[in-house]
Symmetry: C2
Subunit: 323 residues, 2 copies
């Protein structure tokens, strides 16, 4: 609560002077400011009407951290532990048996199928409202294994400023993540100022039913849509129905979203966050299992997308660094 | 002199103060006004914060007409005729052969499968941008078989006023239709003031690909989601991520949306448009093949939803009546 207040008041105070105080001066910061100036100046040949100022942001590794593994996976592990007493059969069945022994690598030996079983066991079978409460409780109590901070404090201060800056300039900001849509919605409004209806993500199927005469949405153990890689442009088209003019990502999972966004007519902006700061955050790219950034880094140069060098361009990484 | 001034200014004030001039005075109009007053008065025990003022509207039969058959079906028929020269094989294959002979009933003898074939032949195979243009061209030129008016003029004036009234009171208005999402988006902003990202509907799958190096979204001949009946609450949950506080529909296809919306905690509002005016529009309900209103009419009484008697409650039906 105090942390949230701090972030909000910090951003507001800073706004009066420099809307992006956590960005060091340089070409990266300039490219952002120039894009916004062109989009918003009535006299600009690149002027974009407010209704078309749509900006899409990846979440994992772009708005919050994603190491040592996607936070949603850590949520699923915590849920497996919490649910284990109700599932004595898990002791003898993979991937659960390995997980409960703390052997994540062994659990994931089954590949995609293991991952799917973990997701379904932890994300399905309850009502929409019940799942929302489970996520809220976890976000309020769980701590990151390295920093021991709540996960929602491991967001990037420069990106928070960027979100506020874009919205102050008439942009509508969306999350477009490979992560679960309902895993993000319970906290994105408070943390990023992005309401649930502006969150796009992977989803499972749901079913409407009357439970003892009471209408309920029940979450089913079936994948509905994977909003990653080539799925991102499709997800954006489905949810928003128009092409964004700016896209922000950090990995090859964002490549197609950036390609589609920046290939449209008129003013366009693409940005990739490159994780280069092993000291304040993590340094990883072409060979990382999490947030692999390889092809998109090559394409970025070709298309003149802005590449953020986290170490050089960000004066602050996390909001709590200023405490 | 003073008296005259008083009378004049009184009438003018009274006129300016009525945001719903096409609604006749009575309990229906009152129920709408009372709901909005309760939701927006800070002192009201039923006060609803702006972020939660979500109102969802069915489209066919609720915002625009749907007789003698859903307008999107007439669009599909026009497309079949336009595409026939490129498909000589249609002459010998159902449902196309019957359609091209003008025998709609024969074409639909194959039931759901025939309908699906018609939809896929006319709604898939092109890029997102190409389909948008096709819809725009059709909307700009096609005429309704009975009124000879453009379809987008066959919208309900009282509902247009209701949309504006709700938005002026901080509501976010959404369309939640069984119709195709991309069939509506190209014109809903202009006609209803509802932007593409606030349109929810049935969809087909899409695929991102590079066409000669250019990123494109291609529409595939596969159903993605049917946003009707029990699908409507699931569609709302997927797109908006929260339960609306007001829902407006006209048929059994809207029943579950109204049930789910009005079963939430706090202030809720459900409304059903009952087509009772055979002279100005159409009169139909329990036995109609299009827009069947049967079970929802019974449930409406039980749940105290507002039922609009079109003949009695609407002073004007279509905007062009005032010409």
């Amino acid at each position: 609560m105090l942390a949230t207040l701090f972030v909000v008041s910090f951003t507001m105070t800073a706004f009066a002077a420099d809307p992006l105080p956590s960005w060091n001066a340089g070409t990266t910061k300039q490219s952002i400011e120039q894009f916004v100036a062109k989009a918003t100046r009535q006299a600009s040949p690149d002027f974009v009407p407010v209704a078309e100022r749509i900006a899409v942001f990846d979440n994992d590794g772009t708005l919050w951290a994603e190491q040592p593994i996607y936070f949603q996976f850590l949520f699923a592990l915590d849920r497996i532990k919490a649910l284990a007493p109700q599932h004595p059969e898990w002791k003898d069945n993979e991937p659960f048996a390995s997980l409960l022994k703390g052997d994540v690598k062994g659990a994931l030996a089954g590949g995609e199928r293991s991952m799917l079983e973990i997701v379904m066991a932890t994300h399905a079978g309850m009502t929409a409202e019940e799942f929302e409460q489970i996520v809220k409780d976890w976000v309020a109590t769980a701590k990151h294994p390295v920093t021991r901070r709540p996960y929602t404090e491991m967001v990037y201060q420069p990106m928070l400023e960027l979100l506020v800056y874009l919205r102050a300039n008439g942009f509508k900001t969306y999350i477009v993540s490979g992560g679960g849509i309902e895993f993000m919605r319970p906290w994105t409004e408070k943390v990023y100022g992005i309401p649930p209806e502006q969150v796009i993500g992977s989803s499972i199927r749901t079913k409407f039913e009357l439970r003892e005469g009471k209408p309920a949405i029940v979450r089913l153990p079936e994948i509905d849509f994977i909003n990653d890689k080539a799925g991102k442009p499709s997800g954006i088209y489905k949810f928003i129905g128009r092409r964004p003019i700016a896209a922000f990502g950090n990995s090859d999972g964002d490549l197609q979203m950036l390609q589609w966004t920046t290939a449209g007519d008129g003013l366009r902006f693409g940005l990739i966050v490159h994780h280069t700061d092993a000291k304040r955050e993590w340094a990883y790219d072409r060979k990382s299992a999490i947030g692999k950034l390889d092809k998109a880094l090559d394409v970025a140069k070709k298309h003149d997308w802005t590449v953020v060098d986290m170490k050089k361009d960000w004066r602050v990484v996390y909001p709590f660094e200023k405490e």
